[in-house]
Symmetry: C2
């Protein structure tokens, strides 16, 4: 009987240790590998505009959400929907870890917020594209920055590729200062903010009440 109890306790101990090991593995915040479906670059090194980003994972769509300098703040009638997409593999890694892997790419699509005679007064539907921007995480390609920002806008319409915006562009400072997780606005992604909270990857200095300037 004593032998049986000892054996049972050993088996229980192994099972317990395995369970704890698994729990620690799940709680790890280290992504396993760079995303394979990340950004592509042309021969000149410019980021190629992804043709299929609307088939990536949708993160959120906000109306009049001001990501940059106070372009929207001057009006109480917001003029645009900003919709955010991320490459599929990075999304899945974020669900596991609360961290964006290397080669993560976000697309930020701005569309006109249109009234429509068919819908209720005050309602807004998404109209034509107004701008298209990208954020890429690549610490080897962008040393000292890790995240770089790109705009595909031009007076002639969307460009096929884009060089990264200069360090003086507002994106860099705004994303460093106002974001909840790394340099990303996870506070506006309703399902992912909970993931970051559970994984403990919200930045210690994040202040939900601070107005984005």
């Amino acid at each position: 009987m004593k032998t049986f109890l000892t054996a049972a306790l050993i088996v229980f101990g192994i099972a317990l240790a395995t369970t704890i090991g698994r729990a620690q593995a799940v709680a790890s915040t280290a992504p396993t590998a760079p995303a394979a479906d990340g950004p592509a670059y042309g021969s000149s090194g410019a980021l190629l505009r992804p043709g299929d980003y609307r088939e990536w994972v949708f993160l959120t769509s906000g109306l009049g959400v001001n990501y940059g300098p106070a372009t929207a703040a001057a009006s109480t009638q917001p003029k645009d929907f900003k919709t955010v997409f991320v490459n599929r593999e990075s999304y899945r890694q974020f669900l596991q870890s609360g961290v964006w892997p290397e080669k993560t790419i976000f697309m930020l699509e701005g569309r006109q917020a249109m009234e429509d005679p068919a819908i209720a007064e005050g309602g807004r539907k998404q109209g034509p594209v107004q701008f298209l921007e990208a954020a890429v995480k690549d610490s080897a390609r962008f040393p000292g920055l890790t995240w770089a920002y790109f705009s595909f806008d031009s007076p002639q319409g969307l460009t096929a590729s884009a060089n990264r915006l200069p360090d003086s562009a507002n994106c860099y400072a705004c994303h460093r200062t106002n974001t909840a997780v790394e340099q990303t606005f996870v506070q506006f992604y309703p399902t992912l903010f909970d993931v970051a909270r559970q994984k403990g990857t919200i930045k210690p200095g994040y202040d939900a009440g601070r107005r984005i300037q």
Copy 2:
């Protein structure tokens, strides 16, 4: 020389015929097969709530867009974002044909439109889920209807499965009357409305100026 010209004209003719054949194939509005990533049903026949719909293809997110009876019309401060997702395979078939294949499933997710001290006055971000509904195309399962509607809402939160709503539910009449393509609100999906226009699948009676009741 005459032989050469004749041969060249024959080759050109074959190439032209092939091109026209291809163009006709592309213009065809008949989807090839039911979607393989469509709806799943439990043993009782109820539609199972998809766990991964936020990884499907995003179609649009509107603010205060009134899909049903005039719940939003009474207020000029819309309270919800309605976001629409569709299964990936049906999306790809729609791009080719302008028609939804059998076994298409749409998810309609309602989220609270929240103000946030961090964003500009008048801006709205997506908050907690308020409701979750589905539309399924299955003419064999729903004879005489083709499209059926489901609600996963309950006082205790979202349900794991749902039986189809009764014929008296407003969804059926509203989707028959107010939609641009089949029984779907493609007029609110900014990229797909152009596809439907090009493929000629907008319903002849569709009136963009008619207020949805």
